[in-house]
């Protein structure tokens, strides 16, 4: 056993690892290959200014989300005062940032909630929805896409019919119906988004792996007797990883946008503050007509900042991994 290992090492040092277990070996090598690629890409990625700024923005929001209880000045879901019965709008407090004499940085909503604290806590909902949904959609989508594209035939057919079916479901209406069925809370919104959103990653990755499958290096690997998993993980996957990351970071953006939309329609989680529910409340109380812009402008800016950061990181990554684009 040991002898065999030594002899193989002398000839195939670049092909084989020290371990003799072929199965573990393959997995380890695949893992190492991916890790190296990722580390290399991370280094190049952080070189670009727009990506660096986007990452700082996301990091800033992450910090805000983690330390939300220390940053927020009030409890976001506790009314700061009771309005007169039946009168909602006269208790409106203007923001102290604009020079009004109040203890509320961004004023209060018509129902008496502190806007600044709601904004801070809204970061938590947005990041949670964005990150969880993106990881699952990109992961499931890539796996399905690779398998469908590589195997082709019946497997491809079955998986793509499933994707076709999901594509037949309009995004927001489906999420709305699912949330109406499952009950309006944040986890159900995330679940509904994952159920639908992996479709786009799967389709793009599949078309990529369809064309990769015909490339000479894959044919060569096939002829050399490589296993299916070997080809998928070492020849196809590294080539589609940029797309996975692209769709992953876009997935964050789409999830945050969708959550905001669903909440805006009025199916948001009533026990959580999100930027979407803030916008919904501001519209319900006609903040537009009253010109109370400090209520509905900040949540939208936060959504925009976080989403554009996701897009910019994705694009930066795309340009690095696809040198043709530079």
């Amino acid at each position: 056993m040991a002898q065999k290992e030594q002899s193989s090492q002398s000839i195939f040092t670049d092909l084989d690892d020290a371990s003799t277990d072929a199965e573990v070996n393959k997995w380890q090598r695949t893992f190492r290959l991916w890790r190296e690629t990722l580390r290399e890409h991370w280094g190049m990625l952080t070189d670009e200014l727009s990506v660096k700024l986007s990452m700082l923005t996301v990091a800033g929001f992450v910090v805000i989300a983690i330390f939300a209880p220390y940053i927020a000045t009030h409890q976001p879901l506790v009314r700061q005062y009771q309005g007169d019965a039946g009168v909602l709008i006269d208790k409106w407090v203007e923001p102290s940032l604009l020079g009004a004499d109040s203890e509320y940085l961004l004023g209060t909503t018509a129902a008496g909630y502190d806007i600044f604290s709601q904004l801070v806590y809204g970061t938590r909902a947005a990041l949670m929805v964005g990150i969880i949904a993106a990881v699952f959609t990109a992961g499931i989508g890539t796996l399905v896409g690779l398998v469908a594209g590589y195997y082709g035939g019946k497997v491809d057919d079955a998986l793509m019919r499933l994707v076709d079916f999901l594509y037949g479901m309009p995004l927001l209406p489906t999420v709305i119906v699912l949330v109406a069925v499952l009950g309006p809370n944040l986890w159900n919104i995330i679940l509904a988004l994952i159920v639908l959103q992996w479709r786009s990653t799967a389709r793009v990755i599949r078309s990529q792996s369809l064309s990769l499958r015909e490339r000479p290096f894959v044919k060569a690997a096939e002829v050399a007797g490589a296993s299916d998993w070997h080809i998928i993980s070492r020849h196809l996957a590294p080539n589609v990883l940029p797309m996975t990351f692209l769709y992953g970071s876009f997935g964050i953006a789409w999830a945050i946008l969708a959550e905001a939309g669903v909440s805006f329609i009025g199916l948001g989680d009533p026990n959580t503050v999100s930027w979407g529910t803030m916008l919904q409340a501001s519209r319900a109380y006609s903040a537009l007509s009253f010109g109370a812009w400090w209520w509905f402008v900040p949540p939208g800016i936060c959504i925009g900042l976080l989403v554009i950061s996701g897009f910019l990181i994705g694009r930066g990554y795309e340009e690095i991994t696809n040198p043709k684009l530079q």
């Binding site: 037949g168 209406p173 916008l279």
Partner: protein, 327 residues
């Protein structure tokens, strides 16, 4: 397998997908909590009258009978009657669908005309200041939720300056749809209502074709035949539009089908913000008041639009790209 059998197979898939969407929808709406009849039946009604009403809607039959009746009706496009207004659902759809189509198509034509042109140019002038500013504009446009842009537009131009109407499709007292749909569309009042939502949507949808066209251009420009064109001494403009852009257009086709899907789904939001009486907004309202027939009918219209567009995109893809094989 040849092209003809691909078309046949793809058509069969279309039917199966439609059936699956219908089935899932049927299940979902019946899983929904809350009694749908509570919205139609007032508390003053006698038990007897209440039971008769439930009976007339067929809600007492076993689920599988309801299911088969549902499928049967789907084929003949009979979506039943609204629980809420007792109107046939097909009438509801006929009222709201054209409104959505006018809005969406206006926005889409503007968005794709501008987006593709800017995409070609920004791909061609890679690394210039023009490219950077277009890409950043496109990213910004896609990052801010449309309903939010809609709110801001309403706040600035509607509430503050009073230039655009705050809601709806026609002003009160102008007759609305009683004068016929086409008569309504060609009035200044309608155009005034259309401008804001269409512009907001176009600004949002523009980013997608722009970015895709740009990446696709970059891909095409690095290919050898572009060098051959240069070597032949063709004018730059000819190379850009006749050779590079035409080859780069291919991904736009699948992208457009996907984008139109998002457009239909997104119509829910923009119609809600601008109180545009379209099919998306009607669907949400039907879901919220548990009006199964209307919710189902409108959802199926939204869904089959997308399914059909994907079908067309698939056929077009095989037709336009000779490298695609049907195996």
């Amino acid at each position: 397998m040849g092209k003809a059998s691909f078309v046949v197979r793809r058509t069969l898939q279309l039917v199966v997908t439609l059936w699956a969407v219908g089935t899932v929808l049927f299940g979902l709406f019946r899983l929904m909590p809350g009694d749908p009849t509570s919205y139609v039946i007032s508390s003053q009604m006698t038990q007897e009258a209440r039971r008769q009403l439930i009976e007339s809607y067929g809600l007492n039959d076993p689920l599988y009978i309801q299911y088969f009746r549902f499928l049967e009706n789907l084929v003949v496009l009979n979506f039943g009657q609204s629980f809420h207004s007792n109107q046939p659902v097909t009438d509801v759809i006929a009222t709201y669908l054209p409104n959505t189509l006018v809005l969406m198509l206006t926005a889409f034509v503007i968005a794709y005309a501008i987006g593709i042109t800017l995409g070609v140019l920004s791909g061609w002038y890679r690394g210039s200041r023009f490219e950077r500013s277009t890409v950043i504009t496109a990213l910004t446009a896609r990052s801010v939720p449309t309903f939010y842009v809609g709110l801001i537009v309403l706040w600035i131009f509607g509430a503050t300056f009073g230039v655009i109407p705050m809601s709806g499709m026609t002003s009160l007292g102008t007759g609305g749809q009683s004068t016929g749909f086409l008569d309504m569309v060609f009035t200044m009042d309608f155009v005034r209502h259309l401008i804001a939502p269409a512009a907001v949507l176009a600004f949002y949808y523009m980013g997608y074709p722009l970015l895709i066209m740009r990446s696709s251009m970059l891909e095409v420009l690095s290919e050898d035949f572009i060098d051959v064109c240069r070597a032949k001494g063709l004018k730059e403009r000819t190379i850009m539009f006749k050779h590079a852009a035409r080859n780069a257009l291919l991904p736009i086709i699948t992208a457009a089908a996907i984008a139109l899907g998002y457009a239909v789904g997104g119509s829910v939001l923009i119609e809600t913000v601008f109180a545009w009486p379209g099919i998306g907004r009607e669907m949400v309202r039907a879901v919220l008041r548990r009006d199964f027939p209307v919710a189902q009918g409108t959802f199926i219209v939204l869904a089959s639009t997308i399914i059909f567009l994907n079908f067309l995109a698939d056929l077009a893809y095989g037709y336009l790209d000779p490298r695609v094989t049907y195996d």
